[in-house]
């Protein structure tokens, strides 16, 4: 734990980053920009896991472990999503969500 900094302040920071990510996810219309907002959300969630583990249960390792798993899943998700986006760009030459109509029924 950080000397002189309580758990409330760190949770405040991670909350603010989480909702900035939500804001970006809602306002952006570009696929890559939306994916970047998802990275912000995932990072603040991982930070929360570690902080609660460290401040409230210093003997346990669960939160730390699962934040490592969050990072691994985020890496896999980013690789797959970027592959899909590049493939999509070849098909329709655009990244705007308004133009993605090929899977609409």
């Amino acid at each position: 734990m950080i000397a002189g900094v309580s758990i409330y302040e760190i949770l405040t920071v991670s909350t603010i980053i989480f909702f900035i990510g939500i804001y970006g996810f809602v306002t952006r219309k570009n696929l890559i920009a939306m994916l970047m907002s998802v990275e912000l959300i995932l990072n603040s969630a991982a930070l929360n896991f570690v902080i609660i583990n460290k401040y409230l249960f210093p003997e346990a390792l669960g939160g730390a472990m699962f934040s490592i798993f969050i990072i691994a899943v985020a890496a896999a998700e980013t690789a797959l999503a970027l592959a899909i986006i590049i493939n999509l760009y070849r098909l329709i030459m655009s990244l705007k969500t308004d133009d993605l109509e090929t899977m609409k029924f």
Binding site: I2, I22, M36, V50, L61, A72, A75
Partner: protein, 176 residues
């Protein structure tokens, strides 16, 4: 001293996060995102969890950001700014995000966390993490570890297949 450093990191992270979601240039926005990720790695180092800080630096700053930069350069003309967001959507999303922040902060600050004494805080060593990863006893995490290896393998194969599939289809059409 540590308190001041934490506040500096926190303010920088929030400022760069806002710039990252509002910048109209994708390449700049990804660099701002990189600074946010570095700030989170800094917090991991400050709470003495050095392994996770190193993982954050290598996987995010070294891997994911480079992947983003490469794909932005592949698909987007860098000089073209993104279209500006209409004010109505910006205002609505901002209001929703602000309401969420306020609601969550009220919930967090009104809850009485049992703070441990500072003497109880300890460093999470790499040795401890490694033992926890590979032990199958009471506090072992071997099953999620194996699952994540399979997931990463499947994601890697899947990403290659998906990213190349357009080309395969073209070849098939040419053969017919």
């Amino acid at each position: 001293m540590e308190r001041i450093i934490f506040y500096i990191i926190a303010i920088l992270m929030i400022v760069f996060a806002v710039m990252s979601v509002s910048s109209r240039n994708l390449m700049r926005s990804i660099i701002y995102l990189l600074f946010v990720l570095l700030g989170i790695a800094g917090i991991y180092f400050m709470i003495e969890f050095f392994f996770l800080g190193a993982v954050q630096l290598t996987v995010y700053a070294g891997g994911i950001i480079i992947l983003y930069v490469n794909s932005i350069m592949l698909v987007e003309k860098i000089n073209n700014p993104l279209p500006s967001v209409p004010f109505g959507r910006k205002f609505l999303a901002g209001a929703v995000a602000l309401a969420g922040i306020i609601l969550t902060l009220i919930a967090v600050w009104s809850y009485n966390f049992v703070n441990i004494a500072e003497s109880q805080a300890k460093e999470t060593s790499v040795k401890e993490v490694g033992h926890a990863f590979l032990s199958y006893g009471d506090k072992g995490y071997i099953l999620p570890f194996e699952l994540i290896t399979m997931l990463l393998l499947a994601a890697m194969v899947g990403a290659i297949v998906i990213a190349k599939s357009g080309k395969f289809n073209e070849n098939k059409e040419q053969n017919q």
